[in-house]
Symmetry: C2
Subunit: 125 residues, 2 copies
């Protein structure tokens, strides 16, 4: 309780939208689409491989072997993650390079955080 | 566990598994199943209605009207969320009552949290 780090944060900013009030239909549709992009083991592994790769980016050529999938299948999954805003794609010569979008992952993670966790930090909710 | 609250936490405990190292296949399957439970707008709204309801629990009889779905459909979605470990169910007389499992939501949210966010807290990663 002595730490001052979070006192500038409005109370409403730290509670999950899920817990604070019933989600509006539009917001629920938007979030469900993001979770759908994550609802596949291969996509989660690809996201993790890219995130944990040097510099938080990876060439598609680095990704096919670890997940044991063909390049077209890997490219399809990467497109789903890119369309969901969780990855960005940059073409360099022959190969596409993918990077994670930390803000997008953090925003989705925050949706799920409950007052239970926030109360544990002693600063809000 | 005094004012220096985070110094006792191992550095590896605060980084998302997604970012720390490539996800193992089993873990990816487990997480994908949880995200699949969330990948539906009606289920997200139901979860949110329960979480934001008084005491973090709600009777199924409170939930059909706000989401404008039939009771069997609502009960199906609640079963998916319960099977995923995100809700608990308690029968009281005629009606089933559902509560959120904050630890399960927090654990899923933490999976998505990146070093980007953790670095902002100044304590780890």
């Amino acid at each position: 309780m002595t730490a001052t780090q979070d006192t500038s944060t409005p109370a409403t900013a730290c509670c999950s939208p899920l817990v604070r009030e019933p989600l509006a239909a539009d917001e629920a549709r938007r979030l469900a689409a993001s979770f759908k992009a994550l609802a596949d083991p291969a996509r989660l592994r690809l996201l993790s491989l890219i995130a944990s790769h040097q510099g938080g980016e990876a060439c598609v050529c680095d990704l096919t072997e670890p997940v044991e999938l063909s390049q077209p299948t890997v490219s399809h999954h990467l497109k789903v993650l890119t369309d969901a805003g969780l990855l960005t794609r940059e073409q360099r010569g022959k190969w596409a390079h993918y990077s994670v979008v930390p803000q997008a992952l953090d925003a989705l993670g925050d949706v799920l955080r409950t007052a239970h966790r926030s109360a544990g930090s002693g600063t809000c909710c």
